[in-house]
């Protein structure tokens, strides 16, 4: 931890998400000289959101590179560098601007290994803040989990807390596949307790494995990134009313850890997905579809009226939910009704 200059002056065990990402990158830059960071304002400015603070000072111009303003340009350059054997970390000031580079991410980074018959790997990391921030309007607030999560060839991770952030960025950098790391600007300044194992330079979180943040028996709540925090808050409120939520932090969008989710739903029979992205074709939509296609077939639907409704909410609503529970036997999937829920495009309700 002391490796990065100007680090938090908090007690050792609390680290902000920003510093966790910073540590992760610092450790990987130190470990492998092929790793380098490029993007707008990442060098002397310490990053637009200060995530790369101190790195340019420590590693210099060759490893921390400020680029001119062209996402398409520097993403392309990063992909080329990865193809030539380096291990770039390509930072988008926000993922909204990655749309200007999306051809490089999808057509070049994601598809090349396959299309070259396995000859040309692209070990690149695309990272940056994703999803909504505070009052930055539509063009700075989109969540790209569903867009990137749609594409074979890419791995997509979405950390929530500091431990996630450090473990996942390190795994992403060490992964030989192109990995998209969807951070969240509002989480950067939030401190979390850092478990002892996270302080190790070899602390990795496996890509493709979700984490159960809170055990519960009545309802499964699945989320990723900042909304995980909202879910835990909601779970605390519900717990006082006798509803125990099992909160799952996806950590990885692609490949999605359906085993963990399925096992939980089999246990609770109730599911809510929570995300900051839009509902149609979203992460929650995919989870619901897989539940429908998968384990729902293994369960016997007892009541002819069983309404298989899996609803998902906009993240801002979760704090207001009041669940009515204890309706059905363990063999049914049923809808959890939220008064005044603004479910968007689910056609069943």
């Amino acid at each position: 931890m002391a490796a990065v200059s100007g680090l938090v002056r908090r007690p050792l065990r609390e680290v902000t998400v920003r510093d966790a990402i910073n540590q992760g990158m610092d450790e990987e830059l130190e470990r492998d000289e092929k790793v380098f960071l490029l993007g707008e304002e990442v060098a002397q400015y310490d990053g637009a959101y200060k995530v790369s603070r101190g790195l340019w000072k420590k590693y210099g111009d060759k490893r921390i590179i400020d680029t001119p303003i062209s996402e398409m340009g520097f993403a392309g350059i990063a992909v080329g560098a990865a193809m030539a054997g380096l291990r770039p970390i390509c930072e988008f000031m926000t993922f909204n601007f990655s749309m200007q580079a999306i051809d490089q991410v999808i057509n070049s980074a994601a598809k090349t290994y396959y299309m070259s018959g396995g000859l040309q790997p692209v070990p690149i990391v695309f990272r940056g803040p994703n999803g909504a921030s505070a009052g930055v309007a539509a063009q700075h607030s989109q969540c790209f989990a569903a867009w990137y999560g749609h594409c074979p060839g890419l791995k997509v991770v979405s950390p929530w807390n500091s431990e996630d952030a450090k473990g996942l960025i390190k795994s992403a950098i060490r992964d030989n596949n192109p990995v998209v790391v969807l951070e969240n600007e509002l989480m950067y300044g939030v401190p979390f307790e850092f478990p002892p194992e996270a302080q190790s330079k070899d602390f990795l979180i496996p890509i493709g494995k979700a984490k159960i943040e809170r055990q519960g028996t009545h309802i499964t709540v699945v989320s990723h990134s900042r909304p995980v925090g909202h879910c835990l808050e909601a779970a605390a409120v519900l717990s006082k009313e006798g509803v125990e939520c099992e909160v799952i932090n996806m950590r990885t969008i692609r490949p999605m850890d359906m085993e963990t989710i399925e096992a939980s739903v089999v246990k609770t029979n109730h599911l809510v997905t929570v995300e900051g992205g839009w509902p149609q074709f979203g992460v929650g939509a995919e989870i619901c579809a897989r539940i429908m296609e998968g384990i729902s077939k293994k369960l016997v639907l007892e009541y002819s009226q069983a309404v298989v409704n899996i609803m998902y909410l906009n993240t801002y609503r979760i704090k207001r939910l009041k669940a009515r529970s204890g309706q059905t036997t363990t063999l049914n999937l049923s809808c959890v009704q939220f008064p005044g829920c603004s479910c968007c495009s689910c056609h069943w309700c």
Binding site: Q44, F97, Q100, Q139, C344
Partner: protein, 445 residues
């Protein structure tokens, strides 16, 4: 056409091309035979001449290996009319603007400056979420705006508020947008300084950089087709000019022959990235000729230089349907935005130089004083008055409520789809039951 030539060469290898083939190459331009684009005129073919016949370029042969050296030490010269003390250098370049117009230029710049100070402070105090000042670049805004017709379409980047100020956009509406209150034409949906005004032909500011460039070209193309006698002006910074969209925009404006003025504010910095890291060529003006675009570099802190260049560019762009590129050299005195602290990457001395020695407002003031059109008394009175106007608008803007939450759902499409209507109704029901948990008193009922 290239295929026809190739075919011709196969059939008549030693005889060059027939007259018929010649006609294939000679394409009259949009203006018929009028030629202000000499390079569009294809060479007449004569097989006996040892001249280049390549379709891709019109040039002579050379038998000496020589690379063209980019000239960045002595770049494209900077056109100016006034010196730093506001004195006209070459009287024949003096636009001789009438007193009212020059006063309007001055008052627009100073009112903008005053508004900037107040709104920047208001962000620091948490009253608005974000702000970007225009310090040092006011001359580029008003000089260019004054040279246009009021109906000319403006595509800005985000640091051109002076254009709106010159077009008499009321303080109330500037503030409304920054506060996102009920008077905001944009219904509170944008970050501050993302102004838009249909009435004043100012396209709503869009955050992603340089996307406005090809859009402006498209709009100019539409204006040409409509024979509208209208120019489109497209503002962008030297940093945004690095985006691929800028390249596409320039190239299309030239090939489609659009009446557009590309106005680049080269203010030295893109957030913290200095021009030395943004590009290695001779700025943006030097790129214009590469696309076949008439280009000029001007002193952006000289309102008259900006005015003259824009005026002439407008006249010719409309008359000849061709793009013009103006690179206005200036300096960003303020921080990039309220999210930036520029002392991290540049010296206070550097900023002070521009603030004190080469500022568009003071240069114009010197001119006004020397003309006898302004004096200290009026300066004092105007400062007081402009501050009062701004403070009044500011207080009013603070007091107004935010738009009704209903407006979350409108304008996604031209017609509201059933799903959104259901959500709108659902939110209304939700607020009826749980309204006390929300700060509804700040919102329009």
């Amino acid at each position: 056409m290239a295929v026809a030539i190739a075919a011709a060469r196969v059939w008549w290898p030693n005889r060059g091309l027939s007259q018929a083939a010649l006609l294939l190459l000679w394409r009259p331009g949009a203006r018929g035979l009028a030629r202000s684009h000499p390079h569009r005129q294809q060479q007449q073919f004569s097989s006996l001449d040892d001249k280049p016949q390549f379709p891709g370029a019109s040039a002579e042969f050379i038998d000496k290996l020589e690379f063209i050296q980019p000239n960045v030490i002595s770049g494209i010269p900077i056109y100016r009319v006034m010196d730093r003390q506001g004195q006209i250098i070459n009287p024949s370049e003096d636009p001789h603007l009438p007193k009212e117009k020059v006063l309007k230029l001055y008052k627009s710049m100073t009112l903008l400056n005053t508004m900037d100070r107040i709104l920047y402070e208001s962000q620091r105090q948490g009253r608005i979420s974000f702000y970007m000042t225009n310090y040092g670049e006011e001359g580029t805004h008003v000089g260019s705006a004054a040279a246009l017709d009021n109906t000319d379409l403006v595509f800005g980047q985000y640091r051109e508020a002076g254009v709106l100020m010159y077009r008499d956009y009321p303080l109330e509406l500037f503030m409304a947008q920054c506060y996102g209150n009920i008077s905001d034409l944009g219904k509170g949906r944008q970050m501050p300084v993302h102004y838009g005004c249909k009435e004043r032909h100012f396209v709503t500011i869009s955050s992603p950089l340089a996307t406005q460039i090809p859009q402006a070209v498209g709009a100019a193309y539409a204006a040409k087709r409509a024979n509208a006698n209208r120019v489109v002006i497209c503002y962008f910074g030297e940093g945004a000019a690095s985006e691929g969209d800028a390249h596409a925009g320039f190239n299309f404006a030239a090939t489609l022959e659009c009446p557009i003025i590309f106005f680049c504010r080269n203010n030295g910095y893109a957030i913290s990235t200095p021009t030395s890291e943004q590009y290695r060529g001779d700025g943006i003006a030097a790129r214009g000729p590469g696309y076949g675009i008439m280009s000029i570099r001007v002193d952006g802190n000289d309102v008259f230089a900006v005015y003259n260049a824009t005026k002439e560019a407008r006249r010719r762009a409309v008359a000849e349907n061709q793009p013009f590129l103006i690179e206005a050299m200036t300096y960003r005195i303020g921080h990039h935005s309220t999210s930036d602290d520029s002392s991290a990457y540049r010296s206070v001395d550097e900023v002070n130089y521009w603030d004190k020695q080469d500022h568009p407002i003071s240069r114009l003031r010197h001119y006004l004083l020397s003309q006898g059109w302004w004096d200290e008394e009026q300066e004092k009175a105007w400062r007081k008055q402009s501050r009062k106007k701004v403070m009044e608008a500011f207080e009013q803007a603070e007091r107004k409520p935010k738009p009704n939450p209903n407006l979350l759902f409108s304008d996604v499409y031209q017609e509201m789809p059933a799903q959104l209507r259901k959500q709108q109704e659902s939110l209304a029901r939700h607020l009826q039951t749980y309204g006390e948990h929300y700060p509804l008193e700040h919102f329009d009922k």
